[in-house]
Each structure stands twice: as structure tokens, then as C-alpha cells.
């Protein structure tokens, strides 16, 4: 066979495979948007669920997810950023830093349901927080920690060495250098990682199954020790656990969840793109 023909066939095949990987995204988005759009209304988004979730809205679940994600971020961002600062600015290439990197890789690979077990074991039972927003937030926070650390590390490493040198040469201490010469330039990258973490935390179900999620709770949570409904768990419940839920409600819930997560991810992609373009060094 002619090498040119061979190349054309091979490229065609690779392109076809790429389509197979990417087109399902559009199909999924299309189906959910098409079937879920009719359910969307202000009453659906801001209403309480009524008559066994077959009427009313999803507001407690939406608000619950917002609470959980906020809690997770409050916990994971400070810890993750400081951890990244340690790895990039303080540690030398020794056993400790290598162990930390190995731990991060492993945390990123731990199945989400195992995080759920861990959260149940430590927060719900051992520390006595009960099945609560606090337990759920901390569990989600631990789960997104690797995302935040990895993004923050990349952001810090992308700040040129010379920035630090100049700061040191002016007599600044190490922390002053990090605070004034490094962190401001790493901020967009850290923000990108934070948004990605938000998206991940908003969509995860398994870690909140045993730590916070309520099957059906048509009122708003009042304290961090309350249970709450959550959007991904609500979708699971109405699509598998309760028979006979209206189809548009199921697709509508999926659509709201999907939009929430995709908007966050798109924001991160755009932010990163602009950040890379704007870099002047």
C-alpha cells in the first residue's frame, strides 16, 4: 500500500476515535438539555419539594450543595495553598517532600466511596459531628485537597526564580517574599484550581452518602450540625430509589446539576487560558 494512502487511513481512524471520545459529551448535554429544559422554572429551582418529590422544586438540595461546597472550599483552600507553598518554597528534595508528593498522588486516586467511609469513621463517629453539613464538608474538602495542591503548586512554580531573588536582595524575609513577590502572581492559577475543586465537590455523591445527605428533607438546614439534601444525591434518589418520579423532574435535576458543574469548569478553563496569554515574563 502507498504510504500516503496508509497515512490517510490511519489519520482517519485516529480522528474517528477522537470523535468517539468527544461526541458523547455533546450527546449527554443535548439529551439532558432537551428533556430537562421543560422542567426548569423559578418554582422548580427555588421551590420546596412537595408530595414525595413529585411536585414543587429542588431548592433545599441546591442550597445544601452550595453549603457543602462552600464548607469544603473553606477547609481545603487554605490548607492546600499552604501545603503547596511548603512544597515549592520551603522544602528541599528530600524524603519528606517525596513522601508528600506520593501521598498527594494517592489521595487523588482514592475512590470517592472510600472517602465516604473515612468521613463516616472519623467525622461522624469518632469526632462525634454526626451526620451533618460539617462532616460532609470536611469529607469533600479532603477529597478535593489534591486538586487544590496540584493547581497551586503549578501556579507557584510558574513564577520565575528572579522574582524571589530580587525580593531577597532587597532584604525581604522568606515569608515577605512569598507574600508580596510570589503569591500575587500565582493567584490566578490558584483560583483556577479552586474553581475546579468547587466543580468536583459539587458533583460528587459517594462521599456525602453516609456523612450528610438526607433522602428527603423539605426544609432548609439551620446549623452546620444539620443534615441536608444535596443535588447529586437527590438526582440519585429520584432516578433509582423512588419509582414513578416525573421524567422532566429527573432530567431537570440533572440539568441543574450539570449546568452548575459545567459553568464552574468553563470558568476555570477560560481563566486559565487568559492567564497563560497574559503572562509577560
Amino acid at each position: 500500500m502507498n504510504v500516503r494512502t496508509e497515512q490517510r487511513i490511519a489519520f482517519g481512524f485516529l480522528f474517528f476515535c477522537t470523535l468517539l471520545a468527544v461526541v458523547p459529551v455533546l450527546v449527554i448535554l443535548g439529551i439532558i438539555a432537551y428533556k430537562g429544559m421543560s422542567a426548569l422554572s423559578l418554582d422548580f429551582i427555588f421551590g420546596m419539594p412537595e408530595s414525595g418529590m413529585n411536585a414543587g422544586g429542588i431548592f433545599p438540595a441546591l442550597l445544601g450543595t452550595i453549603y457543602l461546597v462552600t464548607g469544603a472550599i473553606c477547609f481545603a483552600v487554605p490548607l492546600g495553598v499552604l501545603s503547596a507553598i511548603y512544597l515549592v518554597e520551603y522544602s528541599k528534595d528530600n524524603v519528606v517532600s517525596r513522601l508528600i508528593k506520593l501521598a498527594i498522588v494517592n489521595l487523588a486516586g482514592v475512590p470517592s466511596v472510600v472517602y465516604g467511609l473515612f468521613g463516616l469513621g472519623i467525622f461522624v463517629v469518632f469526632l462525634g459531628f454526626g451526620v451533618s453539613i460539617l462532616s460532609g464538608s470536611l469529607t469533600l474538602g479532603i477529597m478535593i485537597l489534591p486538586v487544590i495542591i496540584t493547581a497551586s503548586r503549578e501556579a507557584l512554580e510558574s513564577v520565575p526564580k528572579s522574582f524571589r531573588m530580587v525580593s531577597f536582595s532587597l532584604g525581604a524575609s522568606r515569608w515577605q517574599t512569598i507574600r508580596h513577590a510570589v503569591l500575587p502572581h500565582a493567584l490566578p492559577g490558584i483560583l483556577t484550581g479552586t474553581i475546579l475543586g468547587l466543580g468536583r465537590a459539587a458533583g460528587e455523591t459517594a462521599p456525602i452518602l453516609f456523612t450528610v445527605a438526607a433522602f428527603y428533607l423539605p426544609r432548609l438546614p439551620e446549623s452546620v450540625f444539620d443534615q441536608t439534601m444535596a443535588l447529586p444525591y437527590h438526582l440519585y434518589v429520584i432516578s433509582t430509589q423512588v419509582p414513578g418520579i416525573r421524567e422532566d423532574f429527573r432530567f431537570g435535576t440533572a440539568l441543574v446539576l450539570l449546568m452548575l458543574v459545567l459553568i464552574l469548569n468553563l470558568a476555570a478553563i477560560v481563566l486559565r487560558y487568559r492567564f497563560r496569554k497574559k503572562k509577560r515574563w
Partner: protein
């Protein structure tokens, strides 16, 4: 000690403590899984737990043989790998070597969005579209089978495989391509025989991480595999995976009871499996970057 030095010292302590949290958390996860789950190994025995064929946690007396669940996970994982590995590697080659710059950006964003879709949404879509399709194509009593799970999970492994394999391919030095071109090789010959060959360790790592993602996946798999804790004989039967078992049964257990402990023990099994897979992947990832 001056105030400034004291401040520096304090900040350094705080940062160091935050730095080692990841290690602390990994250790804590392991300790808590052991603390809650170890009892079952004592009651049932490690061998009987791993290879016992009956998972009847609520009958009297209960039986905790996790073998059907392990086989369920293996079936679904192998099926998903068989679909996602060839497609994923081919996509990575296309995106890294062949696609024009703008197409490449769009495709990468698409893959990233696929990775972002929550697993419960993928499970839901698999349940309402793929399930009925498989049921009618193979004329089965139920469309929720190992095959349905494999196809659904293949799409969840794809983003991991594509993005990591793409990194590995991009990391192959330019000289390799130039040397091949100078010898008169076509782009395809270079891509397939030189670049893909040189990027093998990274691609292997990508596949391992993709498989790790599939084994640990919970919600989607629980929604589309039919959840029958029996040893399957074909891909067209319902199965129940390790992860789905934990998620589905934890709500019914008594805290501190045998069933509760058995589910934590499954957690230990999962934790060890993913630990090994990630460790191996990490080893191979470093091989590419060193070159």
C-alpha cells in the same frame, strides 16, 4: 530573637504542618479503615472474606464472601478498559500529533468537560439511554448488565487516559521526530513507530490511572450494573462491584456491627488496590519525564 524572626518561625511551622497534612490524611484513612473493618477479617478470615462465594450480609447467619463483588469489579473494569484504552490512546495520538492547533484546543476542552460531568449524571444517562438499548439489542430481561457498566465507565476513564497519554506523547523530544522526518518517514510512520513507541511508559501510566478511576467509580456503576451480588458468567448479566456494595448497603447497617465492619473491609481492599495502581503508574510516569 527579634519579633520578625519569631514571626517567620511561626509561619514556617504553620506551613510545614500544612505541608505534611497529605501524609497525615493518607495514614488516617488507612487507620480508620483498619479500625472499623479489621474485625471482620478476625471473624471470617482473610481467605474466606476474599474468596468466599456468598455475599449474604443480612441473612442469618450472615455470610461475607466478597468474591462475587471482586469478580463484578473485575468484569466491569476489564470491559471498560477494553473499550477505553484503544480509543483513548488513539485520541491522545490524534490530539497531540495530528490535530491543528485550534482543533486541538477545542478537543482538549471537550475532554476536560467530559471529565467534569458528575458520575451520578453519567450514571443517570447510562440508565435511561444505554440500558434500554442493550436490553433490546441482546433481548435481555434487564438492560442493567456488566456490559452497560463497562461502556458507561469507559467514558469516565477516557479523559484520564487521553490527557495523561497526551502529556506523555508531547514530552517525546522533538529530535526524535526530526530524525525520523530526515530519514524520509511520513508523519504517520513517525507518529506510530517512533513517537508512540517512545511514549510507551507514559501511556502505560495513563492506562493504569484510567483503570484506577474505573475501579473506584461508585455512583455510575451502581446505577447501571443491576446490582446482583452473584458471580457473573457473561458480560450480559447484572453484577455488583465492590464500590457499589459499600454505597448501597452502608445505609442499612448497624454501626459497629459485622455488616458495617465488612463494608469497611471492602474499603480496605479498594484502598490497597488503588494504592498499588497509583504507585505503579507514578513509577512509569517518572520514566517519561526523565528522558
Amino acid at each position: 530573637m527579634t519579633v520578625r524572626k519569631l514571626r517567620e518561625w511561626c509561619i514556617e511551622r504553620v506551613i510545614f504542618t500544612s505541608g505534611i497534612t497529605s501524609i497525615v490524611i493518607v495514614v488516617l484513612i488507612f487507620i480508620f479503615l483498619l479500625k472499623e473493618g479489621l474485625a471482620v477479617f478476625g471473624h471470617v478470615g482473610v481467605f474466606k472474606f476474599l474468596f468466599g462465594g456468598n455475599w449474604y450480609p443480612i441473612s442469618d447467619p450472615p455470610q461475607f464472601g466478597a468474591f462475587p463483588l471482586i469478580i463484578g469489579s473485575v468484569f466491569v473494569t476489564l470491559g471498560a478498559a477494553a473499550i477505553s484504552v484503544p480509543i483513548g490512546v488513539a485520541s491522545a495520538l490524534y490530539i497531540a500529533e495530528i490535530a491543528p492547533k485550534r482543533t486541538k484546543e477545542i478537543l482538549k476542552a471537550g475532554i476536560e468537560l467530559l471529565a467534569a460531568i458528575p458520575s451520578v449524571v453519567i450514571g443517570f444517562i447510562g440508565m435511561v439511554t444505554l440500558g434500554p438499548l442493550i436490553k433490546s439489542v441482546f433481548a435481555l430481561p434487564t438492560g442493567l448488565t456488566a456490559l452497560t457498566g463497562s461502556i458507561t465507565l469507559a467514558f469516565m476513564a477516557m479523559p484520564t487516559i487521553v490527557s495523561i497519554a497526551e502529556d506523555a506523547i508531547t514530552a517525546v523530544p522533538r529530535q526524535y521526530r526530526e530524525a525520523a522526518a530526515a530519514m524520509g518517514a511520513t508523519t504517520w510512520q513517525t507518529t506510530w513507530r517512533i513517537v508512540a513507541y517512545a511514549a510507551r511508559p507514559g501511556m502505560f501510566a495513563a492506562v493504569m490511572l484510567g483503570i484506577g478511576r474505573v475501579i473506584g467509580e461508585t455512583m455510575a456503576v451502581m446505577m447501571v450494573t443491576g446490582n446482583a451480588a452473584l458471580i457473573p458468567h457473561s458480560m450480559l448479566q447484572p453484577v455488583r462491584t465492590l464500590t457499589a456494595t459499600i454505597a448501597a448497603e452502608m445505609g442499612e447497617t448497624v454501626q459497629g456491627g459485622d455488616h458495617y465492619a465488612a463494608l469497611f473491609a471492602i474499603g480496605i481492599v479498594l484502598f490497597v488496590i488503588t494504592f498499588v495502581i497509583n504507585g505503579v503508574a507514578e513509577l512509569y510516569l517518572h520514566r517519561t519525564t526523565k528522558r
